[in-house]
Protein backbone atom coordinates (compact mmCIF):
# COMPACT_ATOMS: atom_id res chain seq x y z
CA UNK A 1 0.00 0.00 0.00
CA UNK A 2 1.41 3.35 -0.94
CA UNK A 3 2.31 5.34 2.15
CA UNK A 4 1.35 8.57 0.39
CA UNK A 5 -2.20 7.38 -0.01
CA UNK A 6 -2.19 6.51 3.64
CA UNK A 7 -1.10 10.02 4.63
CA UNK A 8 -3.71 11.56 2.37
CA UNK A 9 -6.40 9.40 3.87
CA UNK A 10 -5.43 10.42 7.39
CA UNK A 11 -5.38 14.12 6.48
CA UNK A 12 -8.79 13.83 4.90
CA UNK A 13 -10.15 12.24 8.02
CA UNK A 14 -8.61 14.88 10.27
CA UNK A 15 -10.14 17.64 8.17
CA UNK A 16 -13.49 15.89 8.24
CA UNK A 17 -13.25 15.57 11.99
CA UNK A 18 -12.46 19.24 12.47
CA UNK A 19 -15.30 20.27 10.18
CA UNK A 20 -17.58 17.93 12.05
CA UNK A 21 -16.59 19.34 15.41
CA UNK A 22 -17.26 22.83 14.10
CA UNK A 23 -20.69 21.79 12.97
CA UNK A 24 -21.48 20.64 16.47
CA UNK A 25 -21.60 24.13 17.99
CA UNK A 26 -24.67 24.21 20.21
CA UNK A 27 -27.53 26.71 19.91
CA UNK A 28 -28.02 29.41 22.53
CA UNK A 29 -31.56 29.88 23.85
CA UNK A 30 -33.11 26.49 23.40
CA UNK A 31 -35.27 24.04 25.20
CA UNK A 32 -35.07 20.31 24.80
CA UNK A 33 -38.18 18.25 24.47
CA UNK A 34 -38.42 14.47 24.83
CA UNK A 35 -41.41 12.94 23.10
CA UNK A 36 -42.63 10.37 20.57
CA UNK A 37 -41.65 11.34 17.08
CA UNK A 38 -44.34 13.12 15.15
CA UNK A 39 -46.52 13.59 18.22
CA UNK A 40 -47.36 17.23 17.92
CA UNK A 41 -44.52 18.91 19.75
CA UNK A 42 -42.19 18.65 16.79
CA UNK A 43 -44.47 19.94 14.06
CA UNK A 44 -42.50 22.48 12.06
CA UNK A 45 -45.09 25.18 12.24
CA UNK A 46 -45.50 24.72 16.00
CA UNK A 47 -41.79 24.99 16.65
CA UNK A 48 -41.58 28.07 14.42
CA UNK A 49 -44.55 29.71 16.13
CA UNK A 50 -43.06 29.07 19.55
CA UNK A 51 -39.73 30.52 18.51
CA UNK A 52 -41.46 33.60 17.21
CA UNK A 53 -43.36 34.01 20.47
CA UNK A 54 -40.56 33.41 22.92
CA UNK A 55 -37.29 33.36 20.99
CA UNK A 56 -36.54 29.82 22.15
CA UNK A 57 -35.50 27.14 19.69
CA UNK A 58 -37.02 23.75 20.35
CA UNK A 59 -34.68 20.78 20.04
CA UNK A 60 -36.20 17.32 20.11
CA UNK A 61 -35.12 13.91 21.23
CA UNK A 62 -37.35 10.91 20.75
CA UNK A 63 -38.17 7.65 22.40
CA UNK A 64 -39.87 4.58 21.02
CA UNK A 65 -41.30 3.18 24.21
CA UNK A 66 -42.10 4.41 27.70
CA UNK A 67 -39.25 2.35 29.09
CA UNK A 68 -36.86 4.14 26.78
CA UNK A 69 -38.25 7.45 27.93
CA UNK A 70 -37.57 6.50 31.54
CA UNK A 71 -34.09 5.27 30.71
CA UNK A 72 -33.28 8.53 28.97
CA UNK A 73 -34.48 10.50 31.95
CA UNK A 74 -32.50 8.34 34.34
CA UNK A 75 -29.27 8.55 32.41
CA UNK A 76 -29.42 12.14 31.24
CA UNK A 77 -30.25 14.35 34.19
CA UNK A 78 -30.64 17.97 33.19
CA UNK A 79 -30.68 17.14 29.50
CA UNK A 80 -34.36 17.78 28.92
CA UNK A 81 -36.75 20.58 29.79
CA UNK A 82 -40.07 19.03 28.79
CA UNK A 83 -40.97 15.37 28.62
CA UNK A 84 -44.14 13.62 27.59
CA UNK A 85 -45.20 11.03 30.14
CA UNK A 86 -48.30 8.92 29.92
CA UNK A 87 -50.35 9.24 33.12
CA UNK A 88 -49.82 5.59 33.99
CA UNK A 89 -46.11 6.30 34.24
CA UNK A 90 -46.13 9.71 35.92
CA UNK A 91 -46.23 8.31 39.44
CA UNK A 92 -43.24 6.09 38.72
CA UNK A 93 -41.26 8.97 37.29
CA UNK A 94 -42.12 11.07 40.32
CA UNK A 95 -41.19 8.33 42.76
CA UNK A 96 -37.81 7.95 41.12
CA UNK A 97 -37.27 11.69 41.38
CA UNK A 98 -37.08 12.09 37.64
CA UNK A 99 -39.66 14.85 37.37
CA UNK A 100 -40.45 17.76 39.58
CA UNK A 101 -43.53 19.59 40.67
CA UNK A 102 -44.92 22.09 38.21
CA UNK A 103 -45.94 25.56 39.25
CA UNK A 104 -49.08 26.03 37.22
CA UNK A 105 -49.65 29.65 38.18
CA UNK A 106 -47.84 30.82 35.05
CA UNK A 107 -49.57 28.32 32.81
CA UNK A 108 -52.53 30.48 31.86
CA UNK A 109 -54.36 27.80 29.93
CA UNK A 110 -54.29 25.44 32.86
CA UNK A 111 -57.61 26.72 34.14
CA UNK A 112 -59.31 25.60 30.91
CA UNK A 113 -58.33 21.99 31.29
CA UNK A 114 -61.13 19.54 31.92
CA UNK A 115 -61.17 19.27 35.69
CA UNK A 116 -61.22 15.48 35.91
CA UNK A 117 -58.11 15.32 33.77
CA UNK A 118 -56.20 18.22 35.24
CA UNK A 119 -56.76 16.86 38.72
CA UNK A 120 -56.30 13.21 37.74
CA UNK A 121 -54.73 11.40 40.69
CA UNK A 122 -52.17 9.97 38.31
CA UNK A 123 -50.99 13.32 37.02
CA UNK A 124 -51.48 15.32 40.20
CA UNK A 125 -51.00 13.02 43.17
CA UNK A 126 -52.29 14.72 46.30
CA UNK A 127 -53.09 17.87 44.36
CA UNK A 128 -49.48 18.57 43.43
CA UNK A 129 -49.22 18.82 39.65
CA UNK A 130 -46.48 16.65 38.19
CA UNK A 131 -47.91 16.36 34.72
CA UNK A 132 -50.04 18.87 32.84
CA UNK A 133 -52.89 17.01 31.15
CA UNK A 134 -52.29 17.44 27.45
CA UNK A 135 -53.99 14.88 25.26
CA UNK A 136 -56.05 11.82 25.74
CA UNK A 137 -57.39 9.15 23.47
CA UNK A 138 -58.65 5.66 23.18
CA UNK A 139 -57.05 2.40 22.29
CA UNK A 140 -59.51 0.24 20.45
CA UNK A 141 -59.46 -1.17 16.96
CA UNK A 142 -59.86 0.21 13.48
CA UNK A 143 -61.18 -1.50 10.37
CA UNK A 144 -60.80 -1.27 6.64
CA UNK A 145 -64.22 0.02 5.63
CA UNK A 146 -63.88 -1.51 2.19
CA UNK A 147 -63.13 -4.99 3.36
CA UNK A 148 -64.98 -5.36 6.63
CA UNK A 149 -68.75 -5.28 6.29
CA UNK A 150 -71.01 -4.71 8.07
CA UNK A 151 -69.41 -2.29 10.50
CA UNK A 152 -68.83 -4.31 13.67
CA UNK A 153 -69.89 -3.15 17.11
CA UNK A 154 -68.23 -5.81 19.20
CA UNK A 155 -64.60 -6.48 19.94
CA UNK A 156 -65.25 -10.18 19.37
CA UNK A 157 -65.01 -9.54 15.63
CA UNK A 158 -61.22 -9.76 16.06
CA UNK A 159 -61.78 -13.42 16.93
CA UNK A 160 -64.10 -14.06 14.01
CA UNK A 161 -62.74 -16.98 11.97
CA UNK A 162 -63.82 -15.14 8.85
CA UNK A 163 -60.83 -12.87 9.38
CA UNK A 164 -58.30 -15.52 10.23
CA UNK A 165 -54.82 -14.39 9.27
CA UNK A 166 -56.07 -10.93 8.45
CA UNK A 167 -55.70 -9.27 11.83
CA UNK A 168 -52.90 -7.04 12.89
CA UNK A 169 -51.89 -6.72 16.52
CA UNK A 170 -49.64 -4.46 18.50
CA UNK A 171 -46.65 -6.23 19.98
CA UNK A 172 -47.20 -4.86 23.45
CA UNK A 173 -47.82 -7.20 26.34
CA UNK A 174 -49.81 -4.76 28.47
CA UNK A 175 -52.09 -3.74 25.62
CA UNK A 176 -52.65 -7.34 24.60
CA UNK A 177 -53.66 -8.30 28.11
CA UNK A 178 -55.91 -5.26 28.50
CA UNK A 179 -57.72 -5.80 25.20
CA UNK A 180 -58.27 -9.43 26.09
CA UNK A 181 -59.55 -8.25 29.47
CA UNK A 182 -62.10 -6.07 27.67
CA UNK A 183 -63.08 -9.03 25.54
CA UNK A 184 -63.64 -11.16 28.63
CA UNK A 185 -65.58 -8.42 30.41
CA UNK A 186 -62.96 -7.62 33.03
CA UNK A 187 -61.47 -4.51 34.59
CA UNK A 188 -58.33 -3.73 32.63
CA UNK A 189 -56.56 -2.32 35.65
CA UNK A 190 -57.35 -5.25 37.87
CA UNK A 191 -57.46 -8.46 35.90
CA UNK A 192 -58.74 -11.10 38.25
CA UNK A 193 -59.06 -14.00 35.85
CA UNK A 194 -55.69 -14.24 34.14
CA UNK A 195 -56.44 -17.70 32.81
CA UNK A 196 -59.44 -16.46 30.88
CA UNK A 197 -57.32 -13.69 29.39
CA UNK A 198 -54.59 -16.15 28.48
CA UNK A 199 -57.05 -18.51 26.83
CA UNK A 200 -58.59 -15.64 24.92
CA UNK A 201 -55.18 -14.54 23.61
CA UNK A 202 -54.28 -18.10 22.69
CA UNK A 203 -57.40 -18.25 20.58
CA UNK A 204 -56.40 -14.97 19.01
CA UNK A 205 -52.95 -15.98 17.83
CA UNK A 206 -53.98 -17.82 14.63
CA UNK A 207 -55.93 -14.71 13.63
CA UNK A 208 -52.85 -12.54 13.63
CA UNK A 209 -50.94 -11.97 10.43
CA UNK A 210 -48.33 -9.66 11.81
CA UNK A 211 -47.47 -7.29 14.62
CA UNK A 212 -47.22 -3.58 14.22
CA UNK A 213 -45.26 -1.35 16.53
CA UNK A 214 -45.54 2.10 15.05
CA UNK A 215 -48.10 4.19 13.25
CA UNK A 216 -46.01 3.89 10.15
CA UNK A 217 -46.12 0.09 10.34
CA UNK A 218 -49.87 0.22 10.75
CA UNK A 219 -50.36 2.41 7.72
CA UNK A 220 -48.08 0.36 5.51
CA UNK A 221 -49.55 -3.00 6.41
CA UNK A 222 -53.06 -1.65 6.13
CA UNK A 223 -52.38 -0.08 2.76
CA UNK A 224 -50.77 -3.28 1.51
CA UNK A 225 -53.75 -5.34 2.62
CA UNK A 226 -51.76 -7.35 5.14
CA UNK A 227 -54.51 -6.86 7.69
CA UNK A 228 -58.07 -5.57 7.51
CA UNK A 229 -58.43 -4.68 11.15
CA UNK A 230 -56.14 -4.12 14.06
CA UNK A 231 -55.98 -2.40 17.43
CA UNK A 232 -55.13 1.25 17.01
CA UNK A 233 -55.23 4.61 18.75
CA UNK A 234 -57.95 7.15 18.14
CA UNK A 235 -55.60 9.99 17.23
CA UNK A 236 -53.58 7.83 14.89
CA UNK A 237 -56.72 6.54 13.22
CA UNK A 238 -57.68 10.14 12.53
CA UNK A 239 -54.25 10.76 11.03
CA UNK A 240 -54.42 7.68 8.84
CA UNK A 241 -57.86 8.62 7.61
CA UNK A 242 -56.58 12.10 6.84
CA UNK A 243 -53.93 10.44 4.67
CA UNK A 244 -56.63 8.91 2.57
CA UNK A 245 -56.78 5.40 3.95
CA UNK A 246 -60.28 3.86 4.36
CA UNK A 247 -59.97 3.65 8.13
CA UNK A 248 -62.78 3.67 10.64
CA UNK A 249 -62.16 3.66 14.37
CA UNK A 250 -64.56 1.49 16.33
CA UNK A 251 -65.46 1.80 20.00
CA UNK A 252 -67.25 -1.51 20.60
CA UNK A 253 -69.91 -2.20 23.18
CA UNK A 254 -67.37 -3.92 25.43
CA UNK A 255 -65.56 -0.62 25.76
CA UNK A 256 -62.11 0.71 25.02
CA UNK A 257 -58.90 1.53 26.83
CA UNK A 258 -58.47 5.21 27.63
CA UNK A 259 -55.15 6.89 28.11
CA UNK A 260 -54.07 10.32 29.15
CA UNK A 261 -50.76 11.93 28.23
CA UNK A 262 -49.25 14.68 30.29
CA UNK A 263 -46.36 17.06 29.82
CA UNK A 264 -43.88 17.05 32.67
CA UNK A 265 -40.73 18.92 33.57
CA UNK A 266 -37.72 16.77 34.48
CA UNK A 267 -35.74 17.49 37.63
CA UNK A 268 -32.70 19.53 36.80
CA UNK A 269 -34.26 21.07 33.71
CA UNK A 270 -32.29 24.11 32.73
CA UNK A 271 -35.03 26.35 31.41
CA UNK A 272 -38.04 25.86 33.60
CA UNK A 273 -39.73 29.12 32.66
CA UNK A 274 -39.37 28.38 28.97
CA UNK A 275 -40.59 24.85 29.61
CA UNK A 276 -43.73 26.18 31.24
CA UNK A 277 -44.24 28.55 28.32
CA UNK A 278 -43.93 25.62 25.92
CA UNK A 279 -46.44 23.55 27.85
CA UNK A 280 -48.79 26.51 27.89
CA UNK A 281 -48.53 26.75 24.13
CA UNK A 282 -49.16 23.05 23.70
CA UNK A 283 -52.45 23.16 25.58
CA UNK A 284 -53.51 26.33 23.82
CA UNK A 285 -56.44 26.06 21.39
CA UNK A 286 -54.35 27.96 18.84
CA UNK A 287 -51.92 25.05 18.65
CA UNK A 288 -54.43 22.30 19.15
CA UNK A 289 -57.01 23.12 16.51
CA UNK A 290 -54.38 23.31 13.81
CA UNK A 291 -52.78 20.08 14.97
CA UNK A 292 -56.13 18.30 15.11
CA UNK A 293 -56.75 19.16 11.48
CA UNK A 294 -53.85 16.84 10.59
CA UNK A 295 -55.12 14.16 12.92
CA UNK A 296 -54.46 14.29 16.65
CA UNK A 297 -55.69 12.75 19.88
CA UNK A 298 -58.26 14.59 21.97
CA UNK A 299 -57.19 17.67 23.88
CA UNK A 300 -57.54 17.82 27.64
CA UNK A 301 -58.36 21.49 27.24
CA UNK A 302 -62.15 21.72 27.20
CA UNK A 303 -62.04 25.02 25.34
CA UNK A 304 -59.75 23.60 22.67
CA UNK A 305 -61.88 20.50 22.32
CA UNK A 306 -64.99 22.63 21.85
CA UNK A 307 -63.24 24.61 19.14
CA UNK A 308 -63.00 21.56 16.88
CA UNK A 309 -65.15 21.16 13.78
CA UNK A 310 -68.01 18.64 14.05
CA UNK A 311 -66.39 16.35 11.53
CA UNK A 312 -63.38 15.70 13.71
CA UNK A 313 -63.39 12.27 15.32
CA UNK A 314 -62.35 13.76 18.62
CA UNK A 315 -65.51 15.79 18.66
CA UNK A 316 -68.04 13.31 17.38
CA UNK A 317 -66.75 10.05 18.84
CA UNK A 318 -64.68 10.99 21.83
CA UNK A 319 -66.99 13.83 22.68
CA UNK A 320 -69.97 11.48 22.92
CA UNK A 321 -70.81 10.78 26.58
CA UNK A 322 -72.27 7.39 25.71
CA UNK A 323 -68.91 6.41 24.27
CA UNK A 324 -66.97 7.79 27.21
CA UNK A 325 -69.13 5.79 29.59
CA UNK A 326 -67.75 2.59 28.06
CA UNK A 327 -64.13 3.67 28.35
CA UNK A 328 -61.81 2.28 31.03
CA UNK A 329 -58.90 4.60 31.64
CA UNK A 330 -55.46 3.10 32.21
CA UNK A 331 -54.03 3.36 35.72
CA UNK A 332 -50.45 2.74 36.73
CA UNK A 333 -49.37 -0.89 36.72
CA UNK A 334 -46.84 -2.20 39.23
CA UNK A 335 -43.54 -3.33 37.70
CA UNK A 336 -44.10 -6.87 38.90
CA UNK A 337 -47.37 -7.07 37.01
CA UNK A 338 -45.77 -5.69 33.88
CA UNK A 339 -43.08 -8.34 33.98
CA UNK A 340 -45.71 -10.99 34.47
CA UNK A 341 -47.70 -9.75 31.49
CA UNK A 342 -44.58 -9.69 29.33
CA UNK A 343 -43.74 -13.24 30.26
CA UNK A 344 -47.23 -14.48 29.42
CA UNK A 345 -47.20 -12.59 26.15
CA UNK A 346 -43.79 -13.86 25.12
CA UNK A 347 -44.79 -17.40 25.88
CA UNK A 348 -47.91 -17.00 23.76
CA UNK A 349 -45.89 -15.59 20.90
CA UNK A 350 -43.34 -18.38 21.10
CA UNK A 351 -45.92 -21.11 21.05
CA UNK A 352 -47.83 -19.48 18.25
CA UNK A 353 -45.09 -20.02 15.71
Amino acid sequence: MKINNWKMAVSAVVVATLLGLGAMAAGAAEIRVLNWKGYGTDDDWAVAAFKKKTGYTVVHDYFNSEQEMLTKLRTNPGAYDVVLINSSFTAKAKDEGLISRIDTSEITNFADLAPNMAASPDLAPGGAVYGVAWTWGLTSFAINTRKVKPVPNSIQVLWDKKYKGRIGWRDDAVEAMQLAALATGQNINDIKDLDAVKAKLEALMPQIKTYWSSENDWNQFFAAGDFVMAPYWSGSAARSAAKGLPVKFIVPKEGAIGWLDGLSIPTGAKNRAAARAFINYMIDPEFYVRWAAEGAPASANAKAAAALPESNINRNTLGDPAVIARVQFMRPIPDQRRKQYLEIWQELKTNAQ
Binding site: M1, N5, A9, L21, W36, K37, T75, N76, N216, Q220
Partner: protein
Protein backbone atom coordinates in the same frame (compact mmCIF):
# COMPACT_ATOMS: atom_id res chain seq x y z
CA UNK B 1 -10.91 -30.92 -21.39
CA UNK B 2 -10.60 -27.31 -22.46
CA UNK B 3 -14.27 -27.09 -23.36
CA UNK B 4 -15.24 -28.38 -19.96
CA UNK B 5 -13.11 -25.73 -18.36
CA UNK B 6 -14.61 -23.08 -20.55
CA UNK B 7 -18.10 -24.30 -19.70
CA UNK B 8 -17.39 -24.29 -15.99
CA UNK B 9 -15.93 -20.83 -16.20
CA UNK B 10 -19.01 -19.53 -17.89
CA UNK B 11 -21.33 -21.26 -15.48
CA UNK B 12 -19.29 -19.67 -12.72
CA UNK B 13 -19.66 -16.24 -14.24
CA UNK B 14 -23.38 -16.61 -14.64
CA UNK B 15 -23.64 -17.75 -11.03
CA UNK B 16 -21.69 -14.74 -9.86
CA UNK B 17 -24.01 -12.56 -11.88
CA UNK B 18 -27.08 -14.06 -10.27
CA UNK B 19 -25.69 -13.54 -6.80
CA UNK B 20 -24.86 -9.94 -7.54
CA UNK B 21 -28.39 -9.40 -8.77
CA UNK B 22 -29.69 -10.94 -5.54
CA UNK B 23 -27.49 -8.64 -3.50
CA UNK B 24 -28.83 -5.62 -5.29
CA UNK B 25 -32.54 -6.41 -5.28
CA UNK B 26 -33.37 -4.40 -2.16
CA UNK B 27 -31.03 -1.61 -3.16
CA UNK B 28 -32.69 -1.40 -6.52
CA UNK B 29 -36.11 -1.39 -4.91
CA UNK B 30 -34.99 1.23 -2.42
CA UNK B 31 -33.78 3.45 -5.26
CA UNK B 32 -36.92 2.80 -7.26
CA UNK B 33 -39.18 3.72 -4.36
CA UNK B 34 -37.29 6.94 -3.81
CA UNK B 35 -38.83 8.04 -7.08
CA UNK B 36 -42.28 6.76 -6.26
CA UNK B 37 -44.88 9.23 -5.11
CA UNK B 38 -46.75 6.72 -2.95
CA UNK B 39 -46.03 7.31 0.72
CA UNK B 40 -46.88 3.71 1.50
CA UNK B 41 -44.76 2.13 -1.20
CA UNK B 42 -47.69 1.06 -3.24
CA UNK B 43 -47.17 -0.18 -6.74
CA UNK B 44 -47.66 0.74 -9.55
CA UNK B 45 -45.01 3.41 -9.76
CA UNK B 46 -45.82 7.05 -9.84
CA UNK B 47 -42.60 8.81 -10.77
CA UNK B 48 -41.55 11.94 -8.99
CA UNK B 49 -38.48 13.65 -7.58
CA UNK B 50 -40.36 15.22 -4.70
CA UNK B 51 -38.60 13.16 -2.05
CA UNK B 52 -35.21 14.39 -3.16
CA UNK B 53 -36.41 17.94 -3.03
CA UNK B 54 -37.82 17.38 0.45
CA UNK B 55 -34.57 15.76 1.48
CA UNK B 56 -32.65 18.84 0.46
CA UNK B 57 -34.68 20.84 2.97
CA UNK B 58 -34.54 18.22 5.68
CA UNK B 59 -31.64 19.44 7.74
CA UNK B 60 -32.20 16.78 10.36
CA UNK B 61 -31.41 13.97 7.96
CA UNK B 62 -28.61 15.81 6.20
CA UNK B 63 -26.90 16.73 9.47
CA UNK B 64 -27.22 13.18 10.70
CA UNK B 65 -25.81 11.81 7.44
CA UNK B 66 -22.80 14.08 7.70
CA UNK B 67 -22.32 13.07 11.33
CA UNK B 68 -22.44 9.40 10.46
CA UNK B 69 -19.92 9.94 7.73
CA UNK B 70 -17.20 11.63 9.71
CA UNK B 71 -17.73 9.41 12.72
CA UNK B 72 -17.34 6.39 10.47
CA UNK B 73 -14.13 7.80 8.98
CA UNK B 74 -12.57 8.37 12.39
CA UNK B 75 -13.73 4.97 13.58
CA UNK B 76 -12.29 3.27 10.52
CA UNK B 77 -8.88 4.80 10.94
CA UNK B 78 -8.59 4.00 14.62
CA UNK B 79 -10.10 0.53 14.44
CA UNK B 80 -8.00 -0.50 11.44
CA UNK B 81 -4.73 0.63 13.01
CA UNK B 82 -5.41 -0.93 16.40
CA UNK B 83 -6.96 -4.06 14.96
CA UNK B 84 -4.22 -4.74 12.44
CA UNK B 85 -1.58 -4.29 15.11
CA UNK B 86 -3.33 -6.78 17.36
CA UNK B 87 -3.81 -9.27 14.53
CA UNK B 88 -0.13 -9.11 13.65
CA UNK B 89 0.77 -9.67 17.28
CA UNK B 90 -1.41 -12.78 17.42
CA UNK B 91 0.15 -14.06 14.26
CA UNK B 92 3.75 -13.50 15.16
CA UNK B 93 4.01 -14.23 18.79
CA UNK B 94 3.03 -16.85 21.28
CA UNK B 95 2.42 -15.56 24.72
CA UNK B 96 0.52 -16.42 27.84
CA UNK B 97 -3.09 -15.41 27.76
CA UNK B 98 -3.21 -15.25 23.97
CA UNK B 99 -6.07 -17.69 23.76
CA UNK B 100 -8.03 -15.72 26.33
CA UNK B 101 -7.48 -12.48 24.46
CA UNK B 102 -8.69 -14.10 21.29
CA UNK B 103 -11.76 -15.48 23.01
CA UNK B 104 -12.48 -12.01 24.39
CA UNK B 105 -13.12 -10.82 20.85
CA UNK B 106 -16.41 -12.65 20.83
CA UNK B 107 -18.51 -10.89 23.44
CA UNK B 108 -18.80 -7.68 21.40
CA UNK B 109 -20.19 -9.54 18.42
CA UNK B 110 -22.04 -12.28 20.31
CA UNK B 111 -23.91 -10.18 22.78
CA UNK B 112 -26.77 -8.30 21.16
CA UNK B 113 -25.68 -4.74 20.54
CA UNK B 114 -28.69 -3.71 22.55
CA UNK B 115 -27.04 -4.94 25.73
CA UNK B 116 -23.66 -3.55 24.85
CA UNK B 117 -25.26 -0.22 24.01
CA UNK B 118 -27.16 0.01 27.26
CA UNK B 119 -24.11 -1.08 29.20
CA UNK B 120 -21.98 1.55 27.48
CA UNK B 121 -24.54 4.22 28.21
CA UNK B 122 -24.61 3.49 31.92
CA UNK B 123 -20.88 3.08 32.17
CA UNK B 124 -20.03 6.25 30.28
CA UNK B 125 -22.63 8.05 32.31
CA UNK B 126 -21.10 6.89 35.56
CA UNK B 127 -17.56 7.87 34.57
CA UNK B 128 -18.74 11.28 33.50
CA UNK B 129 -18.23 10.88 29.77
CA UNK B 130 -21.95 11.01 29.08
CA UNK B 131 -23.30 11.01 25.57
CA UNK B 132 -22.10 12.65 22.42
CA UNK B 133 -19.75 12.06 19.56
CA UNK B 134 -16.81 11.08 21.77
CA UNK B 135 -18.89 8.35 23.36
CA UNK B 136 -20.19 7.26 19.98
CA UNK B 137 -16.70 6.92 18.53
CA UNK B 138 -15.56 5.07 21.64
CA UNK B 139 -18.39 2.64 21.12
CA UNK B 140 -18.07 2.28 17.37
CA UNK B 141 -14.34 1.55 17.43
CA UNK B 142 -14.90 -1.09 20.09
CA UNK B 143 -17.56 -2.76 17.95
CA UNK B 144 -15.46 -2.62 14.81
CA UNK B 145 -12.23 -3.94 16.35
CA UNK B 146 -13.21 -7.63 16.50
CA UNK B 147 -14.18 -7.57 12.84
CA UNK B 148 -10.93 -5.97 11.80
CA UNK B 149 -8.93 -8.45 13.83
CA UNK B 150 -10.80 -11.47 12.50
CA UNK B 151 -10.55 -10.36 8.90
CA UNK B 152 -6.88 -9.42 9.04
CA UNK B 153 -6.11 -12.66 10.87
CA UNK B 154 -7.83 -14.64 8.14
CA UNK B 155 -5.58 -12.98 5.65
CA UNK B 156 -2.51 -13.46 7.82
CA UNK B 157 -3.13 -17.19 7.92
CA UNK B 158 -2.24 -17.28 4.25
CA UNK B 159 1.00 -15.48 4.91
CA UNK B 160 4.19 -17.48 5.07
CA UNK B 161 5.99 -16.69 8.32
CA UNK B 162 9.24 -17.68 6.70
CA UNK B 163 9.13 -14.48 4.72
CA UNK B 164 9.32 -12.57 7.96
CA UNK B 165 12.11 -14.78 9.23
CA UNK B 166 14.04 -14.28 6.05
CA UNK B 167 13.72 -10.53 6.32
CA UNK B 168 14.82 -10.61 9.92
CA UNK B 169 17.79 -12.78 9.14
CA UNK B 170 18.79 -10.13 6.63
CA UNK B 171 18.93 -7.66 9.50
CA UNK B 172 15.56 -5.93 9.38
CA UNK B 173 13.98 -4.97 12.70
CA UNK B 174 10.36 -5.53 13.68
CA UNK B 175 8.90 -2.35 12.26
CA UNK B 176 10.77 -2.67 8.97
CA UNK B 177 9.61 -6.24 8.60
CA UNK B 178 6.06 -5.17 9.20
CA UNK B 179 6.21 -2.26 6.85
CA UNK B 180 8.00 -3.83 3.92
CA UNK B 181 7.12 -7.51 4.17
CA UNK B 182 3.97 -8.15 6.13
CA UNK B 183 1.79 -5.16 5.36
CA UNK B 184 2.06 -5.31 1.59
CA UNK B 185 1.03 -8.93 1.65
CA UNK B 186 -1.89 -8.46 3.95
CA UNK B 187 -2.83 -5.07 2.47
CA UNK B 188 -5.98 -6.53 0.98
CA UNK B 189 -6.92 -7.91 4.38
CA UNK B 190 -6.26 -4.59 6.05
CA UNK B 191 -8.36 -2.76 3.53
CA UNK B 192 -11.10 -5.34 3.87
CA UNK B 193 -10.95 -4.81 7.61
CA UNK B 194 -11.18 -1.07 7.08
CA UNK B 195 -14.23 -1.52 4.86
CA UNK B 196 -15.81 -3.68 7.54
CA UNK B 197 -15.05 -1.09 10.19
CA UNK B 198 -16.59 1.64 8.08
CA UNK B 199 -19.69 -0.42 7.41
CA UNK B 200 -20.05 -1.34 11.08
CA UNK B 201 -19.82 2.27 12.13
CA UNK B 202 -21.83 3.86 9.35
CA UNK B 203 -24.69 1.45 9.70
CA UNK B 204 -24.50 1.14 13.46
CA UNK B 205 -27.87 1.84 14.95
CA UNK B 206 -28.33 0.25 18.31
CA UNK B 207 -25.27 1.53 20.13
CA UNK B 208 -25.50 4.95 18.48
CA UNK B 209 -29.06 5.17 19.62
CA UNK B 210 -28.01 5.12 23.23
CA UNK B 211 -24.93 7.26 22.92
CA UNK B 212 -25.96 10.13 20.65
CA UNK B 213 -27.18 13.43 21.95
CA UNK B 214 -30.41 15.08 20.94
CA UNK B 215 -29.90 17.32 17.97
CA UNK B 216 -26.63 15.63 17.15
CA UNK B 217 -27.65 12.27 15.85
CA UNK B 218 -26.40 9.73 13.37
CA UNK B 219 -28.24 8.68 10.25
CA UNK B 220 -29.41 5.21 11.33
CA UNK B 221 -30.86 6.66 14.54
CA UNK B 222 -32.72 9.35 12.63
CA UNK B 223 -33.99 6.77 10.15
CA UNK B 224 -35.19 4.50 12.92
CA UNK B 225 -37.01 7.33 14.69
CA UNK B 226 -38.54 8.39 11.40
CA UNK B 227 -39.72 4.87 10.75
CA UNK B 228 -41.71 4.84 13.97
CA UNK B 229 -44.02 7.61 12.90
CA UNK B 230 -44.21 8.68 9.32
CA UNK B 231 -41.50 6.97 7.36
CA UNK B 232 -41.39 8.92 4.18
CA UNK B 233 -39.44 7.97 1.10
CA UNK B 234 -37.01 10.78 1.94
CA UNK B 235 -35.27 8.00 3.81
CA UNK B 236 -35.06 6.07 0.56
CA UNK B 237 -33.75 9.14 -1.16
CA UNK B 238 -30.91 9.64 1.29
CA UNK B 239 -30.06 5.93 1.27
CA UNK B 240 -29.97 5.89 -2.52
CA UNK B 241 -27.71 8.91 -2.55
CA UNK B 242 -25.37 7.28 -0.07
CA UNK B 243 -25.13 4.12 -2.12
CA UNK B 244 -24.48 6.15 -5.24
CA UNK B 245 -21.78 8.08 -3.42
CA UNK B 246 -20.21 4.90 -2.04
CA UNK B 247 -20.24 3.36 -5.48
CA UNK B 248 -18.38 6.31 -6.90
CA UNK B 249 -15.80 6.25 -4.12
CA UNK B 250 -15.37 2.51 -4.53
CA UNK B 251 -14.90 2.68 -8.27
CA UNK B 252 -12.35 5.46 -7.89
CA UNK B 253 -10.54 3.42 -5.27
CA UNK B 254 -10.53 0.46 -7.62
CA UNK B 255 -8.91 2.54 -10.30
CA UNK B 256 -6.12 3.81 -8.15
CA UNK B 257 -5.50 1.33 -5.39
CA UNK B 258 -4.55 -2.17 -6.28
CA UNK B 259 -5.60 -4.53 -3.63
CA UNK B 260 -6.91 -7.37 -5.66
CA UNK B 261 -3.49 -8.88 -5.82
CA UNK B 262 -1.14 -8.98 -8.71
CA UNK B 263 -3.26 -10.83 -11.18
Amino acid sequence: MMNMNRLLSNVGRVYLGIIIVFLYVPIFVMALMSFNASEFYQLPMDYTTIWYRKLWNNSEILDAAWNSLWIACVTTVIATVLGTAAAIAFFRYEFRGKAILQALLFPPIAIPWLITGTAMLIFFFSIGLGRGSKAVILGHVALALPYVIVVVTARLRTFDPQLEEAARSLGANGWAVTRFVTLPWIASGVIAGALFAFAVSFDQFVVSYFLTQPGDSTLPVVIYSAIRKGFTPEINAVSTLIIALSMTVMLLAARYAKFGGER
